[in-house]
Amino acid sequence: MSTPSAATTSRWRTLTHHHLFWPVAVLVALLLVNVPFTPDFFSIKMTDGHLYGSLVSIVLFGSPLILVAVGMTLVIATGGIDLSVGAVVAITGALTCSYISDQADQNALSGVFLAMGIGLVAAVVCGLWNGFLVARMGIQPIIATLIIMVAGRGVAQLITDGQIITINSEPYKLIGGGYWLTLPFSIFVVAVVVAVTVALTRRTALGLLVESVGGNAEASRLVGIRSRRIKIMVYVFCALCAGIAGLMISSNTSAADGNNAGLWIELDAILAVVIGGTSLLGGRFSIGGTVIGALVIQTLTTTIYTIGVPTQTNLVFKAAVVIVVCLLQSPKFRAKVFGAKFGPKSGAASGGSAATEPAKTVTTAEAAPKMEVS
């Protein structure tokens, strides 16, 4: 079967079966939805020496979510979950801003760096605590991280005394709200963090070990993986990412809001991870998928604002999109609705091997249930 049409269909199939195909497709669709409402949605112009446009603001406002979601991906890959990221965002922002606001010269670089250092150290401490509870004490992740989720926001408010701390520091403003080389500076931060994460997980063996711990904890113990250490590491990393996101969020508005900064960001982050194709049960993960997932969520938020959804239906709209995204990603759903063409991968396999009689493969309507080991 080497007719040109067969070749294109098979290429199309390979494409549709790439694990990022559906998330990207949804992202593109969501972006396109905006066009009728905002005709120059894709246009980017120069304003005040930096680029300005919807796409730029999606990336700008989406940066913290991407960061948190990237950290969350690793935690989820080990079979855990981190509910405390929102609180860590708040604590980091609060500490950093309150330190900066105490400075005589808020623009002094050394002071800003020190402040950021303090904030990030606090984040790391939170991560260590979570890791300690999960890995050392063996407490279930949801509950272990719930503690900081509840108490952390209180700590943040304690630091800010319940007020919003406003600061006026140009260097600090750069991280989350400033521009560099005409682009939002946060893009660079995100790029660096994502690159470091990918390098850390795929250039070293960390990714494999994380996936192994998440895939089968007991087997991992028996091959001698120090899963405790790995778990502590991912919780620290996740908290660090949340900390950087906290810096960004507070820098974006030049203010630390102990109560509202990063409120419910954990849910969006988890959502992003799942849309990106990582299973909440642990095991295989995809950083690229997570980044796309976070962009999908941010685009969704922006879309809600731009297309004029009435406030009271915001959530219904969001629910609808989430359901559609998840259904599209479900091989079973695709098989049931679109038939075998978009269905589970078995379709692709049969198309590829010339020996099969196509008539018989069409009946593969149902995906084979995912077998464990057998």
């Binding site: 408010q157 508005t253 203010a255 922006t302 406030t311 009271q312």
Partner: protein, 313 residues
């Protein structure tokens, strides 16, 4: 029982002495405004020498109800609370009434058929704030010399929260009655009462409706966030887009004094002293008005510099 005063409530020794014990259930600590409100009440109680039982409901009505129940169990002298929502208080207030503990509302009222369930309300009126915002917008437009149609963007508070609903309602009331033809709210979206929300939503507004004339924000924080978004879009807040906000926190006044906000409708959180007066009167058996309004005013840009030093929160 040992009681450490914690620097706020002052020390107390249970029910023995004659000090008035006031149980106060706060909504939460969701904003700077609310924290200022809490501080005001705590310090006023201390000054008045009351024994304050304070609890924070974390924005949950069920927490407030159980807090009030626990005040009843603790046999406090007076109960005061800022209701999270206006409905659903009858049962617990009846219990308080049965225990003969007078109840004072602060900040906002409750819906009830039985008026005897609470003594008085100390606080402002969100709907009125909306009306006042619309009124002051007239002045702002006049001052800016704006003629003709007015395209308004509205930044709402948390969807479903009373201040958001009522401020929008009051604003619309005046708009529909007096400016039906020339004013129009072209976009309206929630910014969750936060700066980050205000900034993000405004950025999106500016994309979809670049020709907005006026921004009405349900609180200062969203307004401040929006200002940043407007500046990022290369426009001048206060000039290209006229801004009216509600609350009057310090940062709002700073922005106003910089010319970025055109007018602020004050919503005063410092009702502690007023509340303590009422508590004393009620305890002494005196009569009070059903509604004691807080002292509030509206500020235009030119008053900002003078008012700024008086802002404590």
């Amino acid at each position: 029982a040992k009681e450490d005063g914690g620097g706020t409530g002052g020390s107390s020794g249970g029910g023995g002495d004659k000090k008035i014990t006031l149980g106060f259930s706060q909504v939460g600590s969701e904003s700077g405004w609310r924290s200022a409100n809490t501080d005001s009440i705590k310090s006023a109680a201390k000054e008045a020498g009351y024994n304050l039982k304070f609890s924070d409901a974390q924005q949950k009505q069920e927490n407030q109800i159980s807090a009030i129940r626990s005040y009843i169990a603790q046999k406090v002298d007076v109960i005061a609370f800022s209701p999270v929502v206006v409905t659903g208080w009858d049962a617990v207030l009846k219990e308080a009434k049965a225990a003969k503990i007078p109840v004072i509302l602060t900040d906002r009222s409750v819906e009830t058929k039985d008026e005897s369930l609470f003594v008085t309300l100390v606080g402002s009126d969100f709907t009125d704030e909306g009306r006042r915002a619309a009124k002051i917008l007239e002045k702002v437009l006049e001052k800016a010399g704006h003629k003709g149609k007015v395209k308004i963007a509205q930044l709402e508070g948390t969807t479903g929260a009373a201040p958001a609903i009522e401020r929008a309602k009051g604003f619309k009331e005046v708009m529909d009655a007096e400016h039906k033809d020339d004013w129009k709210i072209v976009v309206s979206q929630t910014g969750d009462f936060t700066r980050a929300g205000g900034k993000q939503v405004m950025a999106a507004f500016l994309q979809s409706n670049p020709d907005i004339d006026v921004l009405f924000a349900h609180n200062d924080d969203m307004g401040i966030g929006a200002i940043q978004a407007i500046e990022a879009a290369g426009k001048k807040p206060g000039k290209d887009i006229l801004i009216v906000t509600v609350d009057g926190v310090k940062d709002g006044f700073i922005a106003m004094s910089e010319g970025k906000i055109n007018a602020i409708v004050e919503c005063n959180p410092l009702l502690g002293p007023q509340l303590m007066e009422v508590v004393q009167t009620v305890k002494d058996g005196g009569t009070v008005d059903r509604w004691i309004k807080t002292k509030e005013s509206d500020f235009m840009q030119d008053q900002a510099k003078d008012a700024l030093p008086t802002r404590k929160y």
